[in-house]
């Protein structure tokens, strides 16, 4: 069944979902009333990528440096202060880019004539190697043309002081400290609270200004095209959204649903959209300002003082207003059971037009609801309705019977379906299901929620939610209105599952409070009609995005701020990553998400920390070296984080020379801790993103770590040690960062042990992400290099949200008790996310605190409040609605085995860190044993000797076995500690689809790709080979098999594989001539090659980061990896699937 909201990754096929039709057909039916500004708000739906961001709202612009400035020069508006230049002579001259005539003396002091405390004497007496040896690049490196003469060094290197010189340490700070004062640095962190009233007068939009968007009916259609024609270059980063292809599962079902392909065309090419985009953006930006002022006056007079209050979770805040409001009389008792269809009598005419008629909607029942004006004639006669309702009913029953069909696990050998598994369907009525949030975004382990905790305990299945809230979407209704309608008590956003008691009141579906419908909500801008609150887009789609007003800001929205921290020690230079990194940055420089205020900075470190002065106006970047790593300080606080656009040339210069600067360094130490502290000091005033590139264990300064891995223990079957961090430094650092809205992303490129368990903490609690490239080397490991390049590109240009918080609300009676993912849980249901990126998922475990007997549906709402890279405050709201059931059989029927597996995986990670790995493994096995035995004792009536599972859970043992053999949890197979810990980190943060692949890979035979069932993406036909079981018995020597493990793919070529395939696809004459370390499919001009590579690249495009492809022969080094992933087979240390089933059976009958 298609979800109403297309959430696919941007392929045209995905557009076949109902959303676009819905918007296009509305105007045909409804009279086109020009809006003419009668109503003080403006609504339109637009693609998220629509170029609305380039408008700057001056009053909202953060003027971090104090005085308000023009929009164009935010943050960097401090030009080289005359004061600064005049002050220079009195300053410590080492700060200033010294004139070349100073001469470079390789043996020590750089500019002897100017340095009062002469460095050469220090270096010689203290036995420090001459400075030239630390940075020989300046004078010795012959490769750089700029270095031909000593005087032309593009970077001026100045050392503040050698670290060992005690008297000097005392002297230097006094030299250094005065500088900030002379630069007239305004107070740091002087974000003024935005005065809400200020803007009302100046930015009130004229009614005409808001016209273009609503009057153009097609403007409502979200189109990815809009940005290409009207978007400013800055919106280009979002292009990545479109490169996402639909995931396999959804596309594969399309033919079944039978959506005609023609329907997919309209949203693709829609010229009016592009033309209307820029007026729309202008009007929205103005509206945004206007709405912020008007609503702040009406609803909230005092600015909130913390984020908790902002996103609005506290009951206390709303209590006074609740009491002053006239309590509406409620005809129903507060917790009255709501039958499915009742509250939605006039459901979504647009859907009716689009959806297949078998999914028709029941007639308005009108109970507790006055239907209000109906523009749409019901297209179905009552007989039709009746029959279709019956159909739906039988369909549902069939489905339930199918889900509960007993599968005898030991007898059924081919248990894996040939097509990828979809999430199961809930018992909801079809109309509610259509409105529901896409399973890609929001998924529950149990699609039918048990009524009580007792029932849940009886089923022995975990209850939890899997979220992917910031996923790239192609269709996202964006709503600008002056009031965001929320429940007064629990602050839930209005959503499709609320019920309208009458035109003026709606009942919250989470706390059951009856709220008033605000006047503005009565008007539906989509149809330009009045009095249809239930047809507003907020009530039509389960995923919406609001442009938030200033009520949702603690401070003006921050600009995009990026800081890159590079390891430049010997080890790092050896690996050659810096070159790739700088290259990638140069290439994607203009695509970094942000607006005109975007700021960027660079820090490098080995045993010292180096800063780069990139202040506009300098002729070349300056390098400033701070060697006092015990007490790190920022040499020139103002000029290290610079405006991306104003200092563009300097930054590019720096990126060009950076890789060559350290090529002959002999510094082996790594002062990561001090570098991080420095980075934090630079970022704390604004917030933003720190990207740390590290290649070895931090060896000096705070946060230094020792090697804890014993290589002999890698394949032990006994307990695995050191899964927990060694120090709390990184955790505390991450918490500090999180408090200042700074996220830390870690790139670990290392051949050796680097203590991932400790280092990953800096990202874990600051909502960053971790990337790991084991044995990275620019020459020896080309596959990793390619992956690093591609990943970095995606990383740099992917969408980013700043200073975000996410709150997950659920219906009264349910509560969240554990969170998994990268974030900091600030209060009971509030996740603090310094940054949010589209690739991270979250998992929560729930419990049922109170019985849900009184209700028939429960809802979950995840609201993500963030600042977009364009400086807009936005709220993305997802709502999921699930039915409540009272029988164990129904609970089993709705079990989502993939979600359950993923939830158990995250729980097992926690267990292995807090307790031990073997405990976690036991717990996983017990989860299967418990649930299957519970199923047998409660639902099944077979005798004890047969191992049965409901059809919905038939893959459960297989997945758990796969999990036990996964890198994170396996024992007995040699696994490096870092790789194990990384796999655990991935389990916690990967969204479900990607995680499932890493747990249970998909195996395809690709030497004779079938034509039937292939899908068309763009103009290419993508073959869809069936998924095979992961067992060596399925392999044949005559074939070629592709195993898709998420981040890695293996193409196994059988010994007797047809030479036709080998020559046409791989480009080699025979099996023997295929090289051992082949990692690329060549682009050959043959049908077979094109078909194969289109399939592989289609698989690759469905995920954000590159999957390395290894071509595996029986004698290649990757062979063992390939065969380890055949989880159904027996290995030296692990059971085969059949043995595992026998083990489970034994456990159950105990």
């Amino acid at each position: 069944m298609q979800q109403p909201l297309s959430t696919g990754h941007g392929a045209p096929l995905q557009n076949s979902s109902t959303a676009p039709e819905h918007h296009q057909q509305m105007p045909n039916k409804a009279p086109l009333v020009p809006m003419a500004g009668q109503y003080d708000f403006n609504y339109y739906q637009n693609n998220y990528q629509a170029p609305v961001h380039n408008i700057i709202r001056p009053p909202l612009c953060p003027t971090s440096l104090g005085a308000p400035q023009g929009p164009g020069q935010m943050y960097t508006a401090l030009p080289l202060n005359p004061n600064l230049t005049s002050a220079r002579p009195q300053l410590d001259p080492t700060f200033v880019s010294a004139p070349p005539q100073g001469g470079y003396v390789p043996s020590g002091g750089h500019y002897p004539g100017q340095v009062p405390y002469n460095v050469p004497s220090q270096s010689t007496t203290q036995g420090i190697p001459p400075h030239s040896s630390s940075y020989p690049g300046f004078s010795y490196h012959p490769a750089m043309p700029a270095f031909n003469t000593h005087y032309n060094a593009p970077l001026t290197s100045q050392t503040f002081h050698p670290p060992t010189s005690q008297p000097l340490v005392g002297v230097l700070p006094s030299h250094v400290k005065p500088l900030p004062e002379t630069v007239q640095r305004p107070a740091q962190g002087s974000f003024q609270p935005y005065p809400a009233g200020n803007t009302t007068a100046s930015w009130h939009p004229s009614p005409g200004a808001s016209m273009p968007a609503p009057t153009n009916p097609t403007a409502a259609v979200s189109s990815t095209n809009s940005q290409t024609s009207a978007g400013p270059p800055l919106s280009m980063p979002h292009n990545i959204n479109q490169s996402y292809l639909p995931d396999r599962a959804k596309v594969a079902t399309l033919p079944v649903v039978g959506a005609p392909l023609a329907r997919q065309q309209p949203p693709l090419a829609d010229p009016p959209v592009s033309t209307s985009a820029s007026p729309a953006s202008a009007s929205r930006a103005q509206e945004g300002v206007d709405s912020s002022s008007s609503s702040s006056s009406s609803t909230n007079t005092s600015l909130p003082n913390n984020y908790d209050a902002l996103e609005g979770g506290s009951y206390q805040d709303s209590a006074p207003s609740a009491t002053t409001a006239p309590a509406p009389s409620d005809p129903h008792p507060l917790k009255s059971t709501k039958p499915f269809g009742y509250a939605y009598p006039t459901l979504q005419p647009a859907y009716q037009n689009v959806a297949a008629s078998s999914q028709s909607v029941g007639p308005p029942t009108g109970q507790g609801y006055s239907p209000g004006p109906q523009h749409f004639a019901q297209p179905f006669s009552s007989v039709n309705q009746l029959s279709s309702t019956m159909e739906g009913l039988t369909f549902r029953n069939n489905r339930k019977a199918e889900a509960l069909r007993q599968v005898s696990l030991l007898q059924e050998r081919n248990i894996l379906p040939p097509v990828p598994i979809l999430s199961p369907q809930s018992n909801l009525s079809p109309e509610l299901k259509k409105l529901n949030c896409s399973p890609d975004l929001f998924r529950c382990t149990l699609m039918n929620i048990p009524q009580t905790q007792t029932l849940l305990n009886k089923a022995k299945l975990p209850l939890g939610l899997l979220l992917h809230p910031f996923r790239d979407l192609t269709h996202l209704p964006v709503i600008t209105s002056s009031t965001i309608v929320r429940c007064r008590t629990c602050r839930t956003y209005i959503n499709p599952f609320v019920s309208f008691l009458d035109q003026r009141r709606w009942k919250c579906n989470l706390c059951y409070r009856v709220n008033d419908v605000p006047e503005e909500f009565m008007y539906n801008p989509l149809t330009r009609s009045y009095g249809e609150p239930h047809k507003r887009p907020e009530v039509q789609t389960a995923t919406v995005e609001f442009i938030a007003s200033s009520d949702y800001m603690l401070r003006p929205p921050q600009p995009a701020v990026y800081l890159f921290v590079f390891d430049v020690s010997h080890n790092a230079v050896e690996s050659g990553y810096l070159n790739i990194c700088c290259q990638s940055l140069l290439e994607n420089f203009d695509k970094l998400p942000g607006d005109s205020r975007t700021r960027i900075g660079f820090i490098t470190f080995d045993s010292t920390v180096h800063f780069f002065n990139l202040q506009e106006g300098l002729s070349q970047p300056q390098m400033l070296i701070v060697s006092d790593i015990e007490d790190i300080f920022i040499p020139t606080p103002d000029s290290l984080m610079v405006n991306l656009h104003e200092s563009k040339e300097l930054i590019k210069d720096l990126l060009k020379v950076l890789p060559t600067m350290f090529t002959s360094t002999r510094e082996t130490h790594s002062a990561l801790g001090p570098a991080l502290q420095a980075a934090f000091k630079l970022m704390s005033a604004t917030g933003g993103r720190i990207s740390v590139f590290q290649t070895q264990l931090p060896s000096i300064g705070v946060g230094r770590l020792l090697s804890r891995e014993d290589p002999n223990q890698r394949s032990t079957t006994k307990g695995v040690q050191h899964l927990a961090p060694a120090t709390d430094f990184y955790k505390k650092f991450a918490l500090d960062c999180s408090g200042q809205q700074v996220a830390v992303d870690l790139f670990l490129l290392s051949g050796q042990y680097t203590d991932m368990a400790s280092l990953a903490c800096m990202s874990k609690y600051s909502a960053g992400s971790v990337f790991y490239y084991p044995s990275f080397h620019h020459i020896h490991n080309p596959a990793q290099v390619e992956k690093f390049q591609k990943d970095l590109k995606r990383y740099l240009i992917r969408k980013i949200g700043f200073e975000a918080v996410m709150r997950i609300r659920c219906t009264k009676g349910l509560s969240i008790h554990t969170f998994h993912g990268n974030f900091f849980v600030r209060s009971t249901d509030l996740l603090s996310l310094a940054n949010i990126n589209p690739d991270s998922g979250f998992t929560v475990q729930m419990s049922i605190e109170e019985s849900l007997v009184d209700t028939s549906i429960v809802c979950f709402q995840a609201a993500l409040l963030y600042t977009s890279s364009k400086g807009e405050r936005r709220i993305r709201v997802h709502t999921l609605c699930l039915p409540v059931v009272n029988s164990v059989a129904d609970v089993y029927a709705g079990a989502d085995v993939q979600a359950i597996t993923c939830l158990l995986a995250t729980m097992a990670v926690d267990r292995s860190v807090s307790s031990s790995l073997s405990d976690a493994r036991d717990a996983l096995v017990n989860a299967v044993v418990d649930s299957l035995s519970a199923y047998r004792s409660t639902v099944s009536n077979l005798q004890r000797s047969v191992l049965v599972a409901p059809n919905s859970l038939r893959l459960f043992p297989l997945y758990i076995l796969a999990l036990l053999k996964q890198q994170a949890f396996r024992t007995g197979t040699s696994t490096r500690l870092d790789e194990r810990v990384f796999a655990m980190c991935e389990m916690k943060t990967q969204p479900l689809i990607h995680l499932m692949l890493t747990i249970h890979p998909n195996l395809y035979r690709i030497d004779n790709l079938p034509d039937e069932g292939s899908i068309t993406v763009g103009d290419k036909a993508i073959p869809q080979p069936p998924v095979m079981q992961l067992s060596a018995e399925k392999l044949s020597k005559e074939g070629a098999f592709l195993m898709d493990c998420g981040s890695v793919m293996y193409l196994w070529i059988g010994k007797n594989c047809s030479s036709n395939f080998i020559s046409e696809v791989l480009g080699f004459p025979n099996h023997a001539s295929i090289p051992q370390n082949m990692t690329q499919l060549p682009e050959l001009n043959t049908v077979l090659s094109q078909r194969t590579s289109s399939f592989v690249s289609w698989l690759r495009d469905s995920r954000p980061f590159l999957s390395i492809l290894y071509i595996v022969k029986d004698d290649s080094p990757m062979r063992a990896n390939f065969f380890q992933r055949l989880v159904e087979d027996r290995s030296e240390s692990a059971l085969s699937y059949y043995e595992f089933l026998l083990h489970i059976q034994q456990q159950i009958s105990k």
């Binding site: 927990a724 120090t727 955790k731 918490l735 400790s758």
Partner: protein, 139 residues
Amino acid sequence: MEALVFILSLVDCCTLIFMAVYFIITLSDLECDYINARACCSKLNKWIVPELVALGFVTLLMLVSMHWFIFLLNLPITAWNIYRYLAVPCGNVGVFDPTEIHNRGQLKTHMKEAMIKLGFHLLCFFIYLYSMILALIND
């Protein structure tokens, strides 16, 4: 002498009661979202060692003054406190870890523990009071 011992332990016990109340208040503040996890944990972690010292002091005092019953009464809870202090993994910020306090019902466990301690200290308070009066009368 006897009286002095009990007067000291009485004072010590009062401190412990206050601490337990402080723990309960702070934890319930966290439960109600009045403060965030970071602030709560840093507040509470500060008092872990003083609590340990106070408990250890009274236990030692009883051992030295050879009040075996009261010593044995205090021993398990002192041992538990020491164990809890030592069992903190090196990656955690303290006994109360802000990143974990909201997970797996830890908050409730901490709350329960603080309640039990409060009850225990109140019991001890009356025992000390009784013993002190007894000692004063005997003198």
